[in-house]
């Protein structure tokens, strides 16, 4: 069975045309030190053409919460209702090392789900491959 790395037809588009991909250091961003990488090779490229005004990050005071302990509902300057989820509400990806040396990636359920526990490992390692 093919590995789930497949971004298979189910969930992916069929039209090709790679958009520019840029890597920007958050620390360097304010100093306008931006690194543009070729998405295929990783080579450093000249800066792509500037985007339309509407595509630039919003200016002014940013209210976007980066990591609230709990979900936060707020209203932005346009009156749009916003919700910033709590970090622990984000899906995470777990991996366990099985006795046969393989890695299983996923989540154990119920009483087995304590992270790092033997039962978590056993539950994932005992699960038959789909």
């Amino acid at each position: 069975m093919t590995t789930a790395a497949a971004i298979a037809a189910l969930s992916m588009a069929g039209v090709f045309g790679v958009g520019a991909l840029r890597a920007v250091s958050a620390d360097a961003d304010s100093a306008q030190q931006k690194l543009y990488l070729d998405p295929q090779t990783g080579e450093v490229l000249d800066a792509p053409p500037a985007h339309a005004d509407g595509n630039q990050p919003a200016r002014g005071k940013a209210r976007q919460r980066s990591a609230p302990a709990e979900a936060k509902a707020w209203i932005n300057d346009e009156g749009t209702e916003m919700l910033t989820p709590a970090p622990d509400a984000q899906p995470d990806r777990r991996a366990v090392r099985c006795d046969d040396g393989t890695l299983r990636m996923g989540h154990a359920s119920g009483e087995h789900r304590a992270k790092g526990s033997d039962s978590e490992r056993d539950a994932l390692c005992d699960r038959p491959a789909s």
């Binding site: 069975m1 590995t3 789930a4 790395a5 497949a6 971004i7 298979a8 037809a9 189910l10 969930s11 992916m12 588009a13 069929g14 039209v15 090709f16 790679v18 958009g19 991909l21 890597a23 920007v24 620390d27 961003d29 998405p39 295929q40 990783g42 985007h51 509407g54 595509n55 630039q56 990050p57 919003a58 005071k61 940013a62 976007q64 709990e70 979900a71 509902a73 346009e78 749009t80 209702e81 916003m82 919700l83 910033t84 989820p85 984000q90 899906p91 995470d92 990806r93 777990r94 090392r97 890695l103 299983r104 990636m105 989540h107 359920s109 789900r113 992270k115 790092g116 490992r121 789909s130």
Partner: protein, 327 residues
């Protein structure tokens, strides 16, 4: 194993109006061609850390980066380019990514990564549905402009201990190759990034899987007005076991809590997804709709926000990745 690059090349000539499921959720296919979206990696690591790690590294699997940080950026770029090529948005998608030492890693278990939308927006200009939360990248795409007071669309964290701690997963180490030839026993950074970015684009439910604070299991989150709004992904979840086969917003909170564990009866109701699933899947559908992961008991950080494990062939948004088959 099929590499991401292979998949990109396979997809190229098809020129069909398919989009990432996260966009299928809400966007009508307005044109016959899909524009790629620019993806901006905003590195949140400090100097000499994470994506900026200067440790010399040998090339691996088509990744010619000469430092660990460079290889991480190249592998991330490779995955992000694949995702970005399939998304229709004129607004660049900004991903704030870091290698986070706070993610746990032990000898036999680890959190590889975690990601999600930085924020959600409801009742924004041109919102297709009222009183519905959209992940901000999708909201930006729908309105054609960046949502005010936001500068990040997706937040993603990856575990650096895999590379720095020999005891972490018994020294597995990330595989940064971009050739799809991930060795047995190593997690693929490219496929992990792709999986996490799809979550960040909106393949995620905001419904409470268990009671927490003022929320009961099955409830949607509160908006600033205090009303509870469904997210657009959850709006298209359907439970075929109830009379009338209702969509989730039409269920009571108590019914939705029950639905969380209704297994194969819980499906994704998007028409495009169903049509694509019918042609792409040999298993994992119910009445022509793709099964959502809804095991009993609920699995935190996993239930609902993944495809069911019964999908065949396996899909990147399934919650469990089986070991690679032996050559």
């Amino acid at each position: 194993m099929r590499s991401a690059r292979e998949l990109s090349e396979r997809a190229a000539p098809r020129r069909r109006c398919w989009r990432a499921v996260v966009l299928v959720v809400a966007l009508a296919c307005a044109t016959t061609s899909v524009q790629a979206a620019d993806v901006v990696l905003v590195i949140a690591d400090g100097a000499n850390r994470g994506f900026n790690d200067p440790a010399p590294t040998a090339p691996v699997g088509g990744n010619d980066g000469e430092t660990l940080g460079a290889q991480r950026r190249i592998a991330f770029s490779h995955a992000a380019a694949i995702i970005g090529s399939r998304i229709d948005s004129r607004v660049p998608i900004r991903i704030r990514a870091s290698f986070d030492r706070g993610l746990d890693c032990r000898r036999n278990a680890a959190t590889l990564a975690s990601a999600g939308p930085a924020t959600f927006a409801a009742n924004f200009p041109r919102a297709p549905r009222t009183d519905t939360f959209y992940p901000v990248a999708l909201a930006n795409a729908l309105r054609g402009a960046r949502t005010a007071n936001t500068d990040t669309d997706i937040v993603a964290r990856f575990n650096p201990a895999l590379d720095s701690n020999d005891d972490c997963l018994r020294g597995a180490g990330w595989y940064y190759g971009i050739d799809g030839a991930t060795p047995d026993g190593q997690p693929s950074f490219v496929s992990t990034v792709a999986h996490e970015l799809i979550h960040g684009l909106g393949f995620v439910s905001l419904v409470a899987l268990e009671a927490s604070g003022a929320d009961r299991a099955g409830q949607f989150p509160r908006s600033p007005s205090g009303a509870r709004y469904a997210d657009i992904y959850s709006s298209l979840i359907q439970d075929l076991s109830f009379a009338g086969q209702p969509l989730w917003p039409d269920l009571s909170d108590a019914q939705r809590r029950q639905s969380l564990t209704h297994d194969a009866s819980v499906v994704f109701a998007g028409d495009s997804t169903g049509a694509n699933g019918a042609s792409a899947l040999q298993a994992g559908t119910n009445q022509g709709r793709v099964n959502v992961f809804a095991p009993d008991p609920v699995i935190r950080a996993s239930s609902i926000s993944h495809w069911d494990t019964s999908l065949t062939p396996d899909q990147i948004m399934e919650p469990v990745v089986p070991p690679a088959p032996s050559a």
